[in-house]
């Protein structure tokens, strides 16, 4: 059984006067432990696809199975729980809460898992230590460099041991050196058995992945474009 299965997934946006078909029948699978890059020119629908895989969005048509379960029939609250338990997001713009110190950002998913504050903090600090950020635990995002912020975001994504990490242009806002560091982290995670789905439009980034899926005009093609 594949970890992720998409069958004929379509996504259309209905504007007042016309319809935009962003995805027109996406078909692919991701096995557990894979590191897959999704490539495509801007506007090709790769972020939309990632949102669907991340249960932030629902396909207009088609089926999406995560761990063999159909996500189509789930309620909003159930999808929120799936996001909480099974999915870790890493965004291009980090998306950390500016008011909170690093450790509070990392523990955020655990707040919605019903863990005690003490246990949350313990695990958050442990996770920060894993990424060499323990001395930055009390710093707010504004006090951290871009690379550090993205590492905090990765720590947040991993804190609940998700089934899959979804990264949307994770190096897009970083200089090349920090970007390379972040990609090193992803490769390290991949070696530890973490399943990663990464969206990018950069060849060099995609090359770090095990396998590349290209989206063009809303459909998949194997290999790079």
């Amino acid at each position: 059984m594949a970890l992720i299965e998409l069958h004929e997934v379509c996504k259309s946006y209905f504007l007042p006067t016309y319809r935009v078909d962003v995805l027109r029948g996406i078909e692919f699978q991701v096995q557990e432990g894979e590191f897959v890059a999704i490539m495509g020119p801007s506007g090709s629908g790769k972020s939309t696809l990632l949102n669907i895989v991340g249960c932030l969005d629902r396909p207009t048509r088609g089926r999406y199975l995560l761990q063999g379960q159909d996500m189509g029939g789930k309620s909003d609250a159930e999808l929120a729980q799936v996001r909480n338990q099974e999915i870790g997001f890493v965004f291009q713009s980090f998306n950390l809460l500016p008011r909170y110190p690093a450790w509070k950002n990392v523990e955020l998913p655990l707040v919605y898992s019903g863990l005690s504050p003490a246990e949350r903090k313990r695990r958050a600090l442990q996770m920060l230590e894993r990424f060499g950020l323990l001395d930055r635990a009390t710093h707010t995002p504004a006090e951290l460099s871009g690379g550090e912020q993205q590492r905090v975001a990765i720590a947040r994504a991993l804190i609940n041991n998700p089934a899959i990490v979804l990264a949307d242009e994770p190096t897009g806002n970083l200089d090349s050196r920090s970007g390379a560091e972040v990609l090193d982290i992803f490769q390290g995670l991949h070696r530890q058995g973490v399943t990663i789905l990464l969206v990018t439009h950069e060849m060099e980034v995609a090359r770090r992945a095990q396998r590349v899926i290209t989206i063009r005009d809303g459909v998949c093609q194997d290999g790079c474009y």
């Binding site: 949102n51 991340g54 932030l56 969005d57 909003d76 609250a77 929120a80 729980q81 996001r83 909480n84 338990q85 997001f89 965004f91 998306n95 950390l96 809460l97 008011r99 909170y100 955020l108 998913p109 707040v111 919605y112 898992s113 019903g114 947040r156 609940n160």
Partner: protein
Amino acid sequence: MDVIEALRASSDALRANRLRAFLTILGVVIGVAAVILLVSIGEGARQYIRQQFGQLGSNILVVVPGRTAKEGGMHMGTSAVRKLTMEDARLIERRSRAVLHAVPIIVGTSWIRFGNRSRDTYIVGVGARYFKVRNLKIAVGRNFSQDDIEGSRRVCVLGRTVKRELMGEATSPLGALVTIGDAKYRVVGEMAPKGVTLGFDIDDVVFIPVTAAQELFDTDWLFNITVKVASEAQIPQAKEDIRRLLTRRHAGKEDFTILSQDEVVAVMGKILNIMTAVLAGIAAISLVVGGIGIMNIMLVSVSERTREIGIRKAVGATNRDILLQFLAESVLLSLTGGLFGVLLAAALAFALPAFVPFLPTHLVWWSVIVAFLFCLAVGIFFGVYPARKAASYDPIVALRYE
């Protein structure tokens, strides 16, 4: 996410914007303090009146000559067709079983002289039971006896103020001869000080037997008959008896009025209730305005934190979690305001009488609870719309929000 987590998150958010939170809370603080303070002033006034009337004895009816207002009126002692007499008083006391005592009263003013000092003061001619009926205490000496009354003896009991003015503080007044009008009166007692009741210095009086007063003022007519009823339950019976007896004696005409002290208190209490309710209502409007302030700031807060909402949803917050968080924030604002409002009101209720002596206050516990609950309601009512708005954000749009 449970309520405690929601409160934790929202208090973090409020701390990040202290000044804004403070200003928002201020509106609620003022509203709550105003409601509680006004209710406590109303209650203070009510207790003041009840206490003042209580000093004058309970279960008392006052029969005055002339047909005046139905209830709650003030007796001015004028324009009677047929006056009340000593015989009327005697009849009421003897014939009504509900009546304990019926004391004839004559009031006038006269000069009272002692040595080279004199004073124009109230002379109150009373029956023997008057002091008992009106809860008046004799400090030194004795009360009037039945013999004093029947023999129209020239004896008197001095009020505290009169005694001090005529004889100074030190000397005992007993046995002294004072001149009232043209006649000499022997002082047999001195009143315990009672102070000012309802603006009238009841220590500035001289009591003499009612019969002596008839001679002094050369009149047969009474100022009023003060009736002590056996118990509160018998007041209607006593009123009915008095009405029947006096109407018959007065050739079938009801040319007198029975005033009930309790009715006066009840009417004043009613007026105070209405005034308190009106004022508290106006203050409650300011609380609602405070609530609008909360809603305003919550809407700002929600749109400022659109991205935060997106992030929280992405990591697993349900719509309910977001709703709870923002609702907790507005309730926290209103309840903090409520708390400080209660403290402010308590402090003012405590301090106000010290600065404004004529404004007694009495903190009413139910008004504190009502104000607090109203505060909670305001926080929820004005928090629901912004919180629902926050909860309904599409996470994808919210995450992209700049």
